[in-house]
């Protein structure tokens, strides 16, 4: 099967690309990915592609060929973002690598959640580990989001997860994306034996995962507040959110309006992708943000509790 990677994989171009990836049957003997036309791709496109290539490789598809790499106008970007390295494609780099701090987080596999949460935050918001630093709100938000999404990948997905992020200084935006190639949100509920999950669509399963205290893992490991609070934080910072899992698509716009869709018939995204776009100008003190999101989700006590802090 030949898959021509489209020229633009961001914003409106992302969902058609995911549908394209989701149309590949795992019985294919060979998959050719043609990169010659690609000239723009978001972190979400990169992690989705990395997760899917690794999934195909794990399914023992005999050959996965990357073609048109040297004709691709953004070859250097793909190399800097480590897409090719993660996918096992070797290529000569005709540039010198510089630290990516404050600019981007290359595609990387989620292995240790604590360290990747710390690493991504430090990379996106240099200096932000100091509470007094102007980058502190972004540091905390990034650490929190990656921590929760990374924990979901490790605990629920039964697959391999990847993260990437980008700071766009011109638009004052930060894009964060996490994708895995596991069994998807709906199947994780089904496998957990949750009776209400039978007959649920992939889109309905995503919506269910956004409700507080819904978890496929069960206690005591998980209390089911991860995605709830991530989307709560996104709502209060007027961020864009996109979640794709199986055939399901749920989007939230900066006004908090939620839109549900499905991938076209015959397309199935094998895993879960979550991507968020934050505006720098909307970020605020993380303590206030988290407290508000927790209050809204009903996750704080309704009466005083004597807790001893020293």
């Amino acid at each position: 099967m030949r898959l021509v990677v489209p020229p633009v994989i961001n914003a409106a171009g992302l969902l058609p690309f995911l549908a394209q990836l989701g149309s590949v049957a795992t019985v294919e003997a060979e998959i050719i990915l043609d990169f010659s036309a690609l000239r723009r791709v978001s972190p979400a496109g990169l992690v989705a592609l990395a997760a899917m290539v690794k999934h195909w490789q794990s399914q023992h598809i005999h050959r996965i060929r990357f073609e048109g790499i040297h004709q691709c106008p953004i070859l250097g970007y793909l190399q800097r973002m480590d897409l090719l390295r993660v996918c096992g494609v070797s290529s000569t780099e005709e540039f010198e690598r510089h630290p990516s701090h404050g600019r981007f987080v290359p595609v990387q596999q989620i292995v240790d959640v604590d360290s990747i949460s710390k690493g991504v935050a430090a990379c996106l918001a240099p200096g932000g580990d100091d509470f007094e630093h102007p980058a502190s709100p972004l540091y905390d938000l990034a650490a929190y989001v990656i921590g929760e999404l990374g924990a979901n990948v490790r605990q629920h997905s039964r697959g391999t997860g990847y993260v990437a992020a980008q700071v766009n200084k011109g638009e004052a935006m930060v894009r964060i994306a996490v994708a895995d190639n596991g069994h998807g949100i709906r199947q994780s509920f089904v496998d957990a034996g949750l009776a209400w999950s039978h007959g649920l669509s992939d889109t309905a399963a995503i919506r269910k995962a956004l409700e507080p205290r819904v978890s496929s893992k069960g206690e005591p490991v998980n209390q089911g507040v991860g995605l709830t609070l991530v989307t709560g934080l996104a709502r209060h910072t007027q961020a864009w959110v996109l979640i794709v899992s199986g055939t399901g698509i749920v989007q939230m716009d900066p006004d908090g309006q939620v839109k549900e869709q499905s991938l076209p018939h015959g397309c199935f995204y094998h895993g879960t992708l979550v991507t968020l776009t934050f505006l720098h100008s909307k970020l605020q003190d993380f303590y206030t943000l988290l407290d508000t999101a927790k209050q809204e989700a009903g996750l704080l006590a309704k009466r005083p509790i004597r807790t001893r802090f020293t």
């Binding site: 949460s117 206690e219 490991v221 704080l300």
Partner: protein, 103 residues
């Protein structure tokens, strides 16, 4: 008897992994709860925590032993975000304990 645990020294400055928290709790805290020990959880040096981690560390404890356990617990060196996370985890645990008691 007093149990004092320095989380940054034992687990690091960024605590996000709920599974790691549950494993830590089972080995390092649970055995001492039954011995009526006073428990000090020292978060000094912990820069960042997540709900998953703090819930994994505390919610199950409170669900099992109820609010009375707080008489023996002290949380030291918490930044404001950690305080919110701890308060949320405790509230969740107590709510579950109360629900179980009523059932």
């Amino acid at each position: 008897m007093k149990l004092e645990l320095h989380l940054a020294e034992e687990l690091g400055s960024h605590l996000a992994d709920g599974a790691k928290a549950v494993a830590f709790r089972m080995v390092r805290i649970d055995p001492y709860v039954g011995m009526q020990a006073d428990i000090v959880l020292d978060f000094t040096g912990v820069r960042h925590g997540n709900s998953s981690f703090v819930n994994g560390l505390l919610t199950g404890l409170l669900e099992e032993h109820g609010e009375a356990l707080l008489d023996r617990m002290t949380f030291r060196g918490c930044n404001p975000v950690l305080r919110v996370l701890i308060e949320g985890a405790i509230a969740l645990g107590i709510q579950k304990y109360d629900t179980r008691a009523r059932a």
